[in-house]
Amino acid sequence: MKKAILSGNEAIARGFIEAGGKIAAAYPGTPSTEVLETLSQVEGIHAEWSVNEKVAFEVAIGGALSGVRSLACMKHVGVNVAADPLMTAAYTGINAGLVLMAADDPGMFSSQNEQDTRHFARLGKIPCLEPADSAESKQFIKAAFELSESFDTPVILRTTTRISHCKSVVTLDPAESPAGRGLVRDFAKYVMLPSNAKKRHVFVEDRLVRLKAWAETSTLNQVIDGDKEIGFIASGISYQYVREAFPDASVLKLGVSFPLPEKLIWKFSASVKRLAVVEELDPFLEEQIKAMGIAVHLGKNQLPSCGEFNQRLVREKISGIQLPTKEPVAGLLVRPPTFCPGCSHRGLFTVLAKLKLYVSGDIGCYTLGALPPFSAMHTCICMGASVSAAHGMAKGLALQGATQKPVAVIGDSTFLHSGITGLMNMVYNGGDAIVIIMNNDTTGMTGGQEHAGTGRSAKGTAAPRLDIAKLCQVIGAKRVREIDSYRIKDLEKIMKEELAAEGPSVLISNQPCVLRYRVSKKAFAVERKTCTGCKACLKAGCIGLSFTPEGKTGYVEIDPLLCNGCGVCAQLCTTGSMKMM
């Protein structure tokens, strides 16, 4: 048997292959992205970047209804977008197996909130499985498809960052090839008219009772027999922290975090003196266990609901004993992420900062424009919100007699995900805001994935390329202009014209992502003799620049290995000292 070190996401992809899965659809989102990236390399599987998570899940529904095992992958906030089809797919059930893989991000390494996806399983009354390492990630997705087909239900496979992005040892098994089931015509099951849905709701409640009975004996739940002083209940990564912190304790490991095996939990809790429930984020297990009438001695009364755990935190909080601490070195400079040298967003944010505009932001690399030295983004809520919120702001400001015009900044992938509807709404409702679409021809922040506007599919083959400018015109935006975000003087002029014009205005920058496309332009250099050390160029906020104090002023240097020749700093230079090498 071949062994490999795989991340949780790679293991999920491997499990999908071994389960004979055929359709995989996803929208990129850290920490979920690598599942679809891995599957896009596999022949015989249709793997696609869908335009958003709702679409991805609906594609997977269609795949399952067509008779092949289907998977949709997304990050936790993507499940909000997909919640509409999810809640009704819970009623229709499936044909071939249907799994939604959702990756939560405790600690918010790359997310705008820390919500707990397990609540969606309870809301939809569908099962939720939680693997605790890569080997289980592979095992559990296969189990999820079997469960889906046995109980006629979509299944949620929930990971967290430390499951998706940690690597551990996986044994590779041969792939199954389940026969395709073909389409089934079943009006009462698949057409959710109220008359049918009423009957399906009864089915859902009955299915939940049967799933509870199944969970009692499922081998996905395991009891580790040990010391009875404190018994632990945990799932996912928290299980690993518990085993590390209390290697001799009894543990009930829940691979199925919904529905709970109530009898098993009763039996386990009766076998130990005190019960501890260890889970990151919400007290999802704890509240249900308490509702069963079982005393939870140690849980969220000791452990935080914010951030991620580790073995040390679990050991300290549960034992109540403070371990000897080592303080981090105090006062160290932070190293926040920043625009890459040569990034097309730099010129835009230099201008937005200069004009002191109010910027309604969105999700992507450009969110870094909210940080110093630009500090030129003032909201960031969720995918697509920049456009719709800018419209609401403009209307609200007008009613207050203000003449301020808000500016929305959104990327190409995010615009196609859910910015289009906001723009349509703004045009329809007589809105007056500026919408800047930073089209860098990729989904940048997640590492560079294709989308409907790049002209390539997830598999790298040629695909129709959506024309964003034409789309905006068709929607009815009166003023659609192309901009060059590297030319800051022209950009400033255009911005001023659009601020004065009656909107909505759409400005589109079509500069490729330098990281994704490995754009390499000639570096600039500083003429030391003429540089006066005025620091005007430093407003470009580029790590390729450095200032060395000398006497009362100083001088600036450009690191030729970092500089990508975008020329934004040179345009800010007051003495013409920056020249291309």
Binding site: S168, V169, V334, R335, M445, I543
Partner: protein
């Protein structure tokens, strides 16, 4: 064997993740259980990067807690100092002395600290600082810093050197193998 804990820190783009990948692969080849943890996404855009590798008979948690690291491999001084509190009392630190400024330093809003070496030496007994970037450039490519650092780390790793070389061969594309092995040797030979 008891679980051995390694932290590898640096700046996005320095190749930190490749070093941890090779060490994890070597641990597997040596028949050990291994877990490796890293962070993607927002944290990579020129920000601070941390990778963690743990190996032994049986490894549960994929992450290293405060005071648990046997070895800290720092690709950059400031990013080495940032994780010192994770190092055991009898743990070791090796680090590349070549600094990389932060965005705050670039815009002259803050100064890169001058006393990093003193801070590191005051916290940990076994510290080996050296200019790994220079060795990588001498080996033929600045990007081989990750193999230079691995070479320097060999003396602290409870893994057989021949197995680490097998792991390198498994991990690195054939055409880049020569230059990377040169970098590994440079890192290994440089320190006393």
């Amino acid at each position: 064997m008891k679980v051995f804990n390694i932290l590898i820190s640096g700046v996005g783009g320095q190749g930190v993740l490749l070093t941890s990948k090779i060490i994890a692969e070597a641990a597997l080849l040596q028949g050990l259980d291994v877990k490796q943890s890293e962070v993607h996404g927002m944290a990579q855009r020129g920000g601070s990067v941390l990778s963690q590798v743990r190996f032994g008979e049986k490894v549960y948690s994929p992450i290293v807690s405060e005071g648990e690291a046997d070895l800290l491999i720092g690709f950059e001084p400031l990013e080495t100092a940032r994780y010192l509190h994770f190092v055991k009392d009898d743990g070791a630190v090796i680090y590349n002395t070549r600094p990389i400024g932060t965005i705050g330093v670039s815009i002259a809003a803050e100064k890169y600290p001058a006393d990093i070496e003193d801070i590191i030496k005051s916290r940990v007994k076994t510290v080996l600082p050296f200019d790994g970037t220079q060795l990588a450039v001498a080996a033929g490519d600045k990007r081989t810093l990750n193999l230079v650092m691995l070479g320097a780390a060999l003396r602290f790793l409870p893994l057989t050197e021949s197995i680490i070389i097998d792991a390198i061969v498994n991990t690195i594309p054939k055409k880049a193998l020569d230059i990377n092995q040169k970098a590994l040797e440079a890192g290994k030979a440089h320190l006393p």
